[in-house]
């Protein structure tokens, strides 16, 4: 994509954010789940510790990956 095409695409995406949603699979959804947890913890600076964040991510991954592997 040329810079102009990228800019035009971003402009369109401003009006329709769904455009920048990708075709995702189950593993992408798990990854987004991790990022949501990061967002929750990092925006709340001073309210949660790095260890607590990691514990929650590990717990989430335990469940999510178990479901994923069982579905394979």
């Amino acid at each position: 994509m040329t810079p102009d095409e990228i800019k035009a695409f971003l402009q369109q995406a401003k009006e329709d954010p769904a455009l920048i949603k990708r075709d995702t699979d189950e593993l992408d959804d798990i990854l987004l789940g991790v990022i949501k947890l990061e967002k929750k913890h990092l925006y709340g600076t001073g309210t949660t510790s790095a260890n607590r964040r990691r514990e929650q991510i590990e717990k989430y991954l335990d469940d999510a990956l178990q479901d994923f592997v069982e579905g394979e």
């Binding site: 990228i6 954010p17 992408d28 991790v34 925006y43 001073g46 991510i57 991954l61 994923f68």
Partner: protein
Amino acid sequence: MILKQLKLVDFRQFYGDNDIHFAWEGEKNVTLIHGENGVGKTTILNSILWCLFERLNSDFERPNDLINYEAAREGKNTCRVELYFVHDKLDYLAQRHHVKEGKNPFRVYKIENYNFREMPLPEQFIGSILPPQMANYFFFHGEGISSISDRRSGETFRRAIRDILGFTFAEQAIDDLKKVKRGYSKKAEEIYKRNDAARKAAQAKSEAEDRLIKLQESIDTLDTNIAEEDARFDDLSQRLSASGNSDANRIEGDLRATVKRVADTQKALRDCHLERQNLIFKYGWAVFGTELASKGLDFIDDSTLKGRIPSPYQEAFVRDLLEAQECICGRELHAGTAEYEAVVSLLEKANTAIINQRVMKARSAAAYMEGQAQAFLDEVNSVERKREELETRLRTEQEAEHSLQQELHEIDEEEIQRLSKAFDHCRKRRDELWTQHGKIQSDIEVARSQIETFKRELSKHGVHDGYLQRLNRYQELIDEMISRCQGRLQEVEESSRSVIAQTVNSILRKFSRKDYAIRVTEDFIFYLVRDDGEMVAKSSGENLLLNLAFVASLIDMAKMRENAQGDFLVPGTVAPFVIDAPFGELDETYKGATTAFLPGTARQMVLLLSSSHWKGTVDDAIKSSVGYEYLLVSERRAEQGEKPDDIIEIGGQQIAQSIYGAERDITSLRKIQ
């Protein structure tokens, strides 16, 4: 986030209540705040940062003395900053208090019909509107940024682009995923410990993983050192070029090109060595197994020739004879007789479908190994030929480099000889660093290969343990997630880099006197180049213009990504562009040019200017966009004495910037009508 009002209460130079109303509607979106050095311009910028993020710029002096000195003398032990802003058409108030030797409580209120409703998790809320990492670029200290084309700044600018694109969560996720994966790996090691052979492999794998982490850290440090040497090299090169000696200029140009060629060839050689090493990892088993395979194949062929493999008897044929109780020679075969036993013994050697299959497999495996060994030799020979060519080329290029250096050294000028020596020293240091780099890179490949080998070995041991298999699978899936995350970040970074370069170029085309363009390397180093692609040394003014254009393009990018919800990046944002001392090193023309493009870059702009920034073309260029204008007035108890009047002229008004014989030593705000 659009700022409406800032209230400073006993904060730093500002005694009592001090209010600044910001321009934010329509085309008059600029607020100008005039003030000479030391009266509080930087304090205003920092007060906003402190209020929202409890953060101050690193060059902000005495960061712990926040309470106004006069207020403290009167016994006050608190101060506060309040910021009224609009977000998504709703009004908010952010308020941070400072209590001497205490905490700095922070609250955010939503304002509806004059009711103030306190928001839960105020830091989280502010972070969701303006992520702290992006804030640095919106609240910008114009003189605090280093040279944009400095290699040392490459990482800073990459970081800036990553911050403005909202990489924070994804990068943190990568880091956390690596740690969670290590946790699964440790759990798996505990299980392996139950089995002696597996324990050894698990331990070896763990050691190799630790080694790999250390090696990667070493290579990161080396990369930084190399970037520093490269920056020094560029600096020396520019100084030589600016020496005014025509011979030195010519030699410098040739030398820079030759050094680049040498570096490229050295890199190709390093890649060549790595390629050869990878070939050994890829084919090593086949090469060392070739003799065995060859013997095995000879044995199979020999036995086949002698009719031993496959056996001349089919199992089914021998069983038919036993069932018929008659041999093909006509003898009767009864159980217990010597003839019967002789025919039964043939069953042990008789040919079956499985044996046939095994012979075929052994033959094809042995043939494959022989073929792989040949492929290995062919590829090694090809790599070797490439290496020889590169080494020859390197020798020629190094000779050319040496002779240019000699030529440079012979110029009978003290300064050039000094630069020439420094140049030579710098080049040698770079070579040493690259040699170390190559060695560590090679060790990294070895560690990676060892980890893979141990992993294969361990997977054999854990084949019957479901939990262990699951732990191993989890690690694979985490690797896949990390790789997807990194891939997407890189994709976004690359496409954004070109957009940002284009925006910077369009600003330069409009506002720079010279016909230059920007080139951004993969390492995010920004070069100013002429039409013919040749790099040009920039004046400090051009550097500053470039910096401002770069930051403006970042803000533009953040604005474009405002609605990027749902993606794994943080959405962009709209926020005010607050710039302290933006025009320090710009001459009149560039000041005018910069003032002309800045208001268009952000929805709201606050400029903090001293009279040296203000005089001249700035007023004409910006006055149509100015909504509010303030002057920071220095009030002093001391009498004026011999000091001259300190007057500034704004919009035709003559206004005193310093007041003597005042009640207190403070800074006050005066709104310009």
